[in-house]
């Protein structure tokens, strides 16, 4: 297999809009099912998952531990067969052409898979060479990645001496060594300190900018929210919601504008009657010190709210804009809080 050059990746990125509906679907699953038989009975880890990941996007799979994220990913990376349903990855049927699929994808598992008793560079060289790179190509690419991911200080030390963040950077380098079209990241920042997390996020964004399609699983809301173009929320083996983080949040919760008003006057009644007719206001709740407006697109409508009330000389003491979180989305769809489902996410 010839190594794709970065310029080829750029071309494919230009040809598609990142995540637009007209982009090629690099992952398409229909009714994906996976059951495990154990002594205690049958466990349905994945129950009918329909997924579409478009070329050029960062797609997130968000859900609590045990939701079926890792199992789905292991099916899509050919590590495990599905019990039912169909899936195509990079246009290839997963069941029929797993070997061809493997050449197109990169995979970074939760544990990473670097050999602890070898150096980072030795790991990278092996990785490159099993994809068909010559020794020279592999060495050049390894050096390129070592510099790019700031691993110069430790690339030639044994992996078992690495910190969590260092190891994760190596893991990502291993995953992209052969310029895959599609990169799978399973819980890329779990267990890392904030600095290392930020670094990994930067690298993911950089890869995305270069046209790589990324499919990641996470149980961190900030990761799903901040990094992903589109998400699927999964719980108990089923997808409960799909869409961009913004769409999901707006659909479900709406923003809250909290206004502190002068309670001595009839400011509350005035404000309420003024806002009731506005199309963007879904609900108005009086509070102890003012009023709460449940609105769509809070950050856009807030100036208008302020201007409207100001024009009628209603004194506003304070204002606060609360954005909905993905936890609100999860809660609304499953009846449980994502944060509580994880313990402390």
């Amino acid at each position: 297999m010839r190594v794709d050059t970065l310029s080829q990746l750029h071309t494919s990125a230009d040809a598609t809009n990142s995540g637009s509906p007209h982009a090629t679907a690099l992952i398409k699953t229909k009714g994906l099912v996976r059951t495990f038989k154990s002594r205690k009975g049958t466990v349905e880890a994945v129950r009918g998952v329909d997924l579409e990941v478009r070329e050029g996007e960062i797609f997130g799979f968000l859900g609590p531990n045990g939701a079926g994220k890792t199992t789905t990913m292991r099916i899509l990376t050919t590590l495990m067969p599905a019990s039912g349903g169909t899936a195509t990855v990079c246009g290839l049927d997963l069941r029929r052409d797993p070997a061809k699929v493997r050449r197109q994808i990169g995979y970074v598992s939760q544990v990473g898979g670097a050999e602890p008793m070898e150096t980072g560079r030795e790991n990278l060289l092996l990785q490159g060479r099993v994809y068909g790179m010559s020794a020279k190509e592999a060495r050049q690419r390894a050096t390129e990645l070592v510099t790019r991911l700031d691993m110069d200080d430790f690339a030639d030390r044994l992996v078992k001496t690495y910190s969590g963040g260092q190891k994760r950077r190596l893991d990502v380098a291993l995953g992209i060594m052969h310029h895959p079209r599609l990169l799978f990241l399973d819980e890329p920042t779990t267990g890392l300190d904030p600095q290392s997390r930020a670094r990994i996020w930067d690298e993911v964004r950089a890869l995305h900018d270069q046209g790589m399609t990324i499919f990641l699983t996470t149980h961190y809301m900030d990761e799903a929210d901040g990094l992903c173009n589109r998400l699927a929320i999964i719980d108990h083996g089923q997808i409960v919601s799909q869409g961009s983080p913004e769409t999901l949040k707006q659909e479900i919760a709406g923003d809250i504008i909290s206004l502190g008003l002068d309670m001595q006057s009839n400011a509350v009644e005035q404000a309420t009657s003024l806002m009731r007719e506005r199309p963007f206001v879904r609900e108005i709740q009086p509070t102890a010190d003012g009023v709460q407006l449940y609105v769509s697109q809070g950050e856009t409508v807030l100036p208008e709210v302020m201007r409207t009330l100001d024009a009628q000389h209603i004194a506003i003491r304070s204002v606060m804009l609360a954005r909905p979180t993905l936890d609100d989305v999860f809660l609304r769809r499953t009846g449980r809080s994502l944060r509580e489902s994880n313990g402390n996410s």
């Binding site: 990376t77 050919t78 590590l79 598992s109 898979g113 670097a114 050999e115 030795e122 099993v130 044994l158």
Partner: protein
């Protein structure tokens, strides 16, 4: 085919790096047979005249059997490396690459084979010092038989390791399965000394043939019945265990 060779070489290099950074295992593997050679074999000298004891000096009877024992027990624990590779996620990572699955087995076999032959060589040297006098041609052919036996046991160990996925489980399984085979194969004491019942049971033990063949080869008896049988039986077992190990690694998950 070229891919299998290339990938085997790549996997061999990786496993070699890992093993060379952990040489203590090689010496542990050597300790047991050296112990037997220095502490047990001398006791056999007094048995030489006993009726039922096969011809040849004590060391010529005992050393080849001991070499077979190293092939069984030493290689039997080769699976420990595999468990380490499984736990680190290395095997899973390799399974997502195009690397040849059988090359993953061959790479480990090459390292374990190399270490094993070094152990045999050291055992040979110690034996020669103590009085072991094998025929040169026979010893060479025995080395081949030992290599195949060792690789069979190693593959068996890999497959078992991928099944139990735990060092304690592997140690227990190997001991449980292998100890009766070793005792029944005539390594410790020649089976000519054993009662008929045990001798009959031993006929079903593939390693009995390896041990008999090893003694025959050391005496220079190339055409012995036991030699032919040993190569065939161990050869077939080698193919079966390589197949089993490859199949196991194809589906391996922690």
């Amino acid at each position: 085919m070229g891919k299998v060779l290339r990938d085997s070489w790549l996997m061999f290099k990786s496993q070699f790096n890992v093993s060379k950074r952990n040489p203590v295992w090689v010496f542990i593997g050597l300790f047991q047979p050296i112990c037997y050679m220095l502490l047990f074999a001398p006791l056999l000298k007094s048995l030489v005249g006993v009726p039922g004891f096969p011809p040849g000096g004590a060391y010529n009877i005992f050393t080849p059997g001991l070499m077979v024992m190293m092939a069984i027990f030493g290689a039997g624990f080769a699976g420990f490396n595999i468990i380490g590779r499984l736990r680190s996620g290395f095997i899973e990572r390799m399974r997502v690459t195009p690397v040849s699955r059988i090359a993953m087995i061959f790479g480990s076999l090459a390292v374990d084979g190399l270490l094993f032959m070094i152990q045999i060589a050291l055992l040979l040297v110690v034996g020669l010092i103590l009085g072991f006098r094998p025929r040169v041609g026979g010893m060479a052919l025995l080395a081949v038989l030992l290599f195949i036996t060792g690789m069979t046991m190693a593959c068996f160990s890999y497959a078992l390791a991928l099944l139990v996925k735990d060092e304690g489980g592997l140690a227990a399984s190997v001991n449980l399965l292998v100890l009766p085979l070793v005792l029944l194969s005539g390594i410790m004491l020649p089976l000519t000394l054993a009662p008929e019942l045990l001798r009959n049971i031993a006929k079903f033990n593939p390693f009995t043939y390896a041990v008999d063949a090893s003694r025959a080869l050391v005496a220079g008896d190339f055409g012995a019945d036991s030699v032919v049988k040993a190569f065939i039986i161990i050869g077939v077992l080698a193919i079966l265990t390589i197949y089993w190990a490859t199949r196991s690694i194809r589906q391996a998950a922690m």
